[in-house]
Amino acid sequence: MITNQFRTARPETGRRERRRVRLGEHHLAGYLFIAPWLIGFFAFTFIPIAASLVLAFTNYNILSPLPHWIGVRNFERMFSHDPRYWVSVRQTFYFAFTSVPLKLAFALALAMLMTAPRRLVGVYRAAYYLPSIVGANVAVAVMWRQIFGTDGVVNAVLAAAGLPAHTSWLGNPATAVWTVIALAVWEFGSPMLIFLAGLKQIPAELYEAAAIDGAGVLARFTRVTFPLLTPIIFFNFVVQMIFGFTVFTSAFIISNGTGSPLDTLLFYPLYLYQKGFRDFEMGYAAAMAWVLLVVVALLTALIFKSSRYWVFYAQEEA
């Protein structure tokens, strides 16, 4: 189901409906129904993004009366005179490219464990999914900050196990970013449920046939499970990548909005927030927002393009 939905997600144009259009049914009804979205799109998305492009070429402080045109100076500053900008870019890529694969691997491994029929599957599902629904919450980020604090649970457990503790996880630039990555990985529930749905669609005959051919556990995974699951992996990958590039709350709470230590938690959205809403450099923040838009668009396009080489659609073979 999901496989097809994501690829061919577009309204159905049934023959019946097409006939009606030919008969000249007016189009007003359709537009009236989608009007709320259309109006919302122009008012809150399209026009703001267009305005953002104009602002990106200005020097604008919300307290000053008018934006002041400065050409490409914002971009110049961003790319060549703002070391913190590059730090935020680097840390965001670092975060996205570590947390997303880890999260997906976790999600897939657990989904596979849970396909085996056993009692209380519903309970397990709840246990694994719960962290995801509460995960985006400030309360969880606050709690996470304490768990990894100098006198937090992680250190207490390490001490109890006789391992060296009292490392400042959050104060040490080498480990701080990993606490946020751990939080992201902990929220693996939704991709896991999607994997679960995908695994259920793999016909049992394929596994039986593979077993008869003498395929071991590993071969069954690499030859059957993985290829048939690639559309779902692809879907999860795209969605999680975009989430990865827009992570805000956890980094903001854990670093108190500063991005410290040594800006290792200064993810792109957090830096954008600092520029726009702390320093009120709206023009600069708008320029940053546009670069983010371009990067996310390029990245998504790249993943889609690459899918031709590794995503396998059983339907096309048939």
């Binding site: 999901i2 993004i49 953002s52 246990a127 400030v138 709690m143 768990i147 975009i242």
Partner: protein, 265 residues
């Protein structure tokens, strides 16, 4: 499996346990889940809030924001979803494509000009900037509801049309009663997203009287003062209560909603 499940749930259990620990115990007895002397005093101190604003106010604000926001989002998403799924008009494919691509759009990209406009309109410190954009529905929910509508046989529409029902009649009398399950799922998700929303309340609400729980918790944990962790744990645990209650009551719908569209982070 059970062990791993417990590890996953451990942080949440720890949070609740810690919220009942007294000040002498909260850092000395970190790894124990059972408070030696359970006490509700953290809840009392936490509920008092800060300044003259109690957590009752933050709770009320969060419920207002999440409640009204959810009704607006799901209501308009259902209407728009019907438009895309069941009416025919020139440009439908195009607008559908545009709508789906907004799913990939980072919030940060539109926030600057939106903020400027809402500020110039004098809407800072009101709920208008948070609620108004919800009249348009949200691509995520529109798509989710659409997928569901597409599973309903078109013959029902035709039968209603023969009986003299217009598109509006078909929507209200045929489709709406049939899509209740997906509307419930969408409402739960929308409530969760809004309840946990941090970015928008953070930038638009500066008056403590208007704070939602998420912003209040953050203000509570401000490093400027001596942080009262016991109270923060207590209020964090309380802020998760609606999330848990809804989860327990509607788990079935959630799993269904996730596995049919599954876009949640």
């Amino acid at each position: 499996m059970i062990g791993f499940g417990l590890v996953m749930l451990y942080p949440l259990i720890w949070l609740v346990a810690s919220s009942f620990k007294g000040p002498s115990e909260i850092w000395t007895n970190v790894s124990s889940l059972i408070p030696k002397i359970p006490t509700p005093e953290n809840y009392v101190r936490g509920w008092a809030g800060f300044g003259s604003v109690t957590f009752a106010t933050f709770y009320k604000n969060s419920f207002l924001y999440a409640g009204i926001g959810t009704i607006l989002t799901v209501g308009s998403s259902a209407v728009v979803a019907f438009g895309f799924a069941r009416t025919q008009f020139v440009g439908r494919q195009f607008w559908f494509g545009v709508m789906m691509s907004t799913l990939l759009l980072p919030v940060q990209v539109q926030i600057i000009p939106q903020y400027i406009v809402f500020t110039k309109l004098g809407w800072l410190n009101t709920f208008l900037p948070l609620l108004l954009p919800r009249f348009g529905g949200q691509a995520f929910f529109i798509f989710m509801i659409m997928q569901f509508i597409r599973g309903i046989p078109a013959e029902l529409d035709d039968a209603a049309a023969i009986d003299g029902c217009g598109k509006v009649g078909i929507f209200f009398r045929v489709i709406l009663p049939l899509i209740t399950p997906v509307l419930v799922a969408a409402a739960i998700f929308s409530f969760y997203f809004t309840w946990g929303d941090f970015f928008s309340p953070l930038i638009y609400l500066n008056d403590p009287k208007l704070y939602t729980i998420s912003v209040a918790l953050r203000a509570f944990a401000d490093p400027a003062g001596a942080t009262d962790w016991g109270a923060i744990f207590a209020m964090s645990a309380l802020s998760l209560v609606p999330v848990f209650v809804i989860f327990v009551l509607f788990q079935r719908y959630l799993v269904q909603g996730i596995s049919t569209t599954g876009l949640r982070g």
